[in-house]
């Protein structure tokens, strides 16, 4: 899966309806801030061989991404979490840059959807 930036519109609109249109932009902003921080945490953990730190960071990215309709991004985080739990940090290292690259576009897409 090369492109992780897609947002599932049905999930996103459902979330807008459940949270309220007034609440959504604020929480998307927070998500965008936090996902960036979690990616940085995961990257540092990978670099230092911190298996549990890496696993926890991608676990967190997974659950929130899926909530906002970033299904592919969340699915990739899930697979990285599984690699982390299995202790396969080498393969995780190989796949992780894809998430780093996708993050800016994903954040952009979410913010645009908020304004829509």
């Amino acid at each position: 899966m090369d492109d992780l930036t897609a947002v599932d519109l049905k999930t996103f609109e459902n979330l807008r309806e459940q949270l309220g249109a007034d609440f959504l932009p604020g929480i998307v902003d927070i998500f965008c801030e936090d996902v960036l921080l979690q990616l940085q945490t995961a990257e540092s953990a990978l670099a230092s061989g911190d298996q549990s730190g890496f696993t926890r960071a991608v676990h967190s990215i997974k659950s929130t991404s899926l909530s906002f309709g970033a299904l592919d991004f969340g699915a990739e985080a899930r697979e990285l979490e599984a690699l982390g739990r299995a202790g396969d940090l080498e393969q995780a290292k190989a796949r992780f840059p894809l998430m780093l690259r996708a993050c800016p576009s994903l954040r952009q897409n979410l913010k645009e959807l908020c304004r829509a």
Partner: protein, 381 residues
């Protein structure tokens, strides 16, 4: 205008977005929501104020969901707070472990608002029922304590202080309240009405019937009737007032400390044990007798005995004689007589206490099955 807050909920999740989304959902439903970012924060909040429910993430830094559950289960104050575990779908093994540790329900992330509401409402409903049950139980326990206190307070505060005689008594209900009773009623100079009774059941109904019987005997005894007539008159009232088919066995007697005589009347109750100055059981001429509250004209066994100096008389309820050992054998009247042959030189109070310990030992320390009542007196030299 939003509804008044329904319940106090604590959301425990290390992810800020998850916490805020849950808070939004729950506050929209009218709940009061507090947030904790890990298990330690959650336990700190739980120690400060009460919550109706926890929504608990499993994977958290500092202290995870399992550790929180473990601490809550070990704490009597927190054990009753329902916990709904919120986790990823791939963490089902962890969810099972949480349920085994006491969690009430679980939800998977991302949380569906409709499902969240349904699960929370169901859990809160169960908690409400549990809380009501617990409040009811506490109220019942309190009422039973008051009933026990009331029942014990109607028993004689002090035993007779009579020159030439010493008295002892002990009563141990099998439940909070019981159906046994004893009494020592002043009947004029040097005369005492002594009573031991045993209502057919145990617990609150028996205690109420016991109170009725106790009061009737008091009233009849103070009219200077002989013991047999007093019991027959009590029986008439019991038949009028008793629609629950309860009955009571009674042994009552008039102790005349000048004549050194004991005029007894027995209604279905065990005979007393009478021990001679040499420690030998003295026999009674046993006649048939029937409990009060059942028949219009019950058979009452009456007699008069003359008490030699240094003799001992022990009135007791069947909680003593019907004590059963590991082999299923009852202690019986003869078992009690045999014990008294060893202890007859003790004071009446010490005899009563020894009987209590003896019966407990005979029963092998098993739970007390019947009320225990004993009233004893000793004629001095």
């Amino acid at each position: 205008m939003p509804d008044a807050p329904k319940s106090r909920l604590l959301v425990v999740d290390d992810d800020r977005v998850n916490r805020l989304v849950m808070q939004r959902y729950l506050e929209t439903e009218g709940h009061q929501v507090s947030l904790a970012a890990d298990g330690e924060e959650a336990l700190a909040l739980l120690s400060q104020k009460s919550f109706d429910m926890l929504l608990l993430d499993i994977e958290m830094p500092v202290m995870n969901g399992f550790q929180v559950l473990e601490r809550m289960t070990a704490d009597p104050l927190l054990r009753e707070v329902p916990v709904v575990v919120v986790s990823g779908v791939e963490e089902l093994d962890s969810v099972v472990r949480c349920i085994q540790m006491g969690a009430e329900d679980y939800l998977t992330k991302p949380v569906n608002r409709v499902l969240l509401k349904a699960r929370i409402d169901a859990s809160l409903e169960k908690k409400l029922l549990r809380d009501r049950q617990s409040a009811l139980l506490k109220r019942l326990q309190r009422e039973m304590e008051i009933a026990q206190h009331t029942q014990m307070s109607i028993l004689p505060e002090r035993l007779p202080e009579q020159a030439g005689y010493t008295f002892g008594a002990l009563m141990k209900p099998a439940r909070s309240v019981g159906g046994d009773f004893y009494d020592a009623i002043p009947m004029g100079e040097d005369r005492w009405g002594l009573v031991v009774g045993d209502v057919s059941d145990k617990g609150l109904p028996a205690a109420l019937f016991m109170t009725l019987t106790y009061s009737l005997i008091r009233v009849e005894a103070t009219q200077n009737k002989d013991p047999g007539q007093a019991l027959r008159d009590v029986n008439k009232y019991l038949l009028e007032m008793n629609n629950q088919s309860m009955f009571v066995t009674v042994l009552c007697g008039l102790l005349d400390c000048r004549e050194h005589s004991f005029h007894y009347a027995r209604a279905g109750h065990p005979l007393p044990i009478w021990i001679s100055p040499e420690g030998l059981p003295l026999g009674f001429e046993k006649q048939p007798s029937q409990a009060l509250g059942l028949f219009e004209h019950p058979k009452i066994d009456e007699g008069i005995i003359h008490l030699p100096p240094h003799s001992l008389l022990v009135m007791y309820s069947d909680g003593l004689s019907e004590a059963v050992n590991d082999e299923g054998s009852q202690l019986g009247h003869t078992g009690l007589e045999a014990r008294l042959r060893e202890t007859y030189q003790l004071s009446p109070n010490a005899v009563c206490l020894d009987f209590w310990q003896f019966v407990q030992k005979y029963s092998g320390g098993s739970e007390q099955q019947d009320d225990f009542t004993v009233l004893a007196f000793h004629r001095e030299g």
